[in-house]
């Protein structure tokens, strides 16, 4: 039971916190309002270099070409998050499997559609909205749907094949970058005639890795063979 003094302290803490956060909000608002009404940002540089980027979608150009190393390091972040989850223990395996006909029918129809959608987003990402991250997320959703439907995954896929796919994105990205470092003298400096092909190649590998990494993160532990709970 909380004594009257403690309770008073608690209320004081609440009010002090509210005042402090009000000050933070007002400060943030003032900072935002005092910014210039119009700013060009980096849009001029982006549009000036679009011709040499190898793709038509400016967001993909920024992600895979102009700031490619950002995306490379993000793949590493995803991998580190997965390593963190795996180091906490192995995934729980469900004790009993109850076959659910409606769910299997749904998953059997939807999962292929999602994989198709992921492929479309990856392909379309070069000139319309889309790209590796979106495609990877859709792929991960297909994987999660399969995991949720208690499909039994083959044991032999849970060992090194899984790890190869997890590393594929980061590996391809780094390998292409290093090769270009020796060939053209700059890390991830694509020759402009081949830039589109390089970007699509890296994105395809990245999509697979992002999809499998996110689905593995959903599992919440090192995978074993079996239906998951």
């Amino acid at each position: 039971m909380r004594s009257a003094g403690r309770r008073w302290h608690y209320l004081l803490f609440r009010w002090a916190l509210m005042l402090l956060l009000l000050a933070v909000a007002v400060g943030l608002g003032y900072a935002l309002l005092s910014l210039p009404q119009q700013a060009v940002g980096l849009s001029e540089q982006v549009s000036a270099n679009m011709a040499t980027s190898g793709v038509q979608n400016p967001v993909t150009a920024v992600l895979l070409n102009f700031r490619g190393y950002d995306t490379l390091l993000e793949m590493a972040v995803l991998l580190v998050a997965l390593l963190g989850v795996w180091s906490l223990g192995s995934a729980e395996v469900h004790r009993k499997i109850d076959p659910e006909p409606v769910l299997s029918l749904l998953v059997g129809g939807l999962a292929p559609m999602m994989i198709l959608m992921a492929g479309y987003l990856l392909w379309a990402g070069t000139n319309t909205p889309g790209g590796a991250f979106q495609a990877g997320s859709v792929l991960a959703a297909a994987g999660i749907l399969l995991l949720l439907s208690s499909k039994r995954f083959p044991v032999r896929l849970m060992g090194w094949p899984l790890r190869v796919v997890l590393l594929l994105g980061l590996g391809t990205f780094a390998a292409v970058g290093m090769t270009l470092l020796f060939v053209s003298g700059g890390f991830l400096q694509y020759p402009s005639s081949l830039a589109g092909a390089f970007i699509l190649f890296i994105e395809a590998a990245a999509t697979l890795s992002i999809g499998v990494t996110l689905a593995a993160l959903f599992l919440g532990g090192r995978p074993q063979a079996g239906p998951y709970r």
Partner: protein, 102 residues
């Protein structure tokens, strides 16, 4: 006041709301939700400020960063949830002890 600025201010509001909830709630799952709301606020500010260009085309560099940010946020959330489950398994509760001003 332009519409993009209104969205930026909304982002600041979401950030503050999230920060408040992050501090006062003891349950760890609530803290994760609060951090996600704070993140959404930051993303909203970034994209809204990218829309201040004179023409019709917004600045795409913040867009690219926000896309990577969203994916990093979801993977960090997954890691945090795994940690919360470990805390629950180890201590029997997924909360920080609620003892303000010790």
């Amino acid at each position: 006041m332009s519409a993009v600025l209104l969205y930026a201010l909304t982002g600041a509001g979401l950030f503050t709301l999230g920060l408040y909830a992050l501090i006062i709630h003891a349950h760890l799952l609530r803290k994760i939700l609060a951090i996600n709301v704070m993140g959404s606020g930051v993303f909203l500010i970034l994209v809204a400020l990218g829309g201040r260009t004179a023409g019709a085309v917004p600045d795409v560099v913040p867009h690219a960063m926000v896309i990577t940010g969203i994916v990093v946020a979801v993977s960090a959330t997954a890691l945090a949830l795994a940690l919360v489950l470990r805390v629950q398994a180890a201590t029997g509760r997924a909360e920080l002890p609620e003892e303000p001003l010790e």
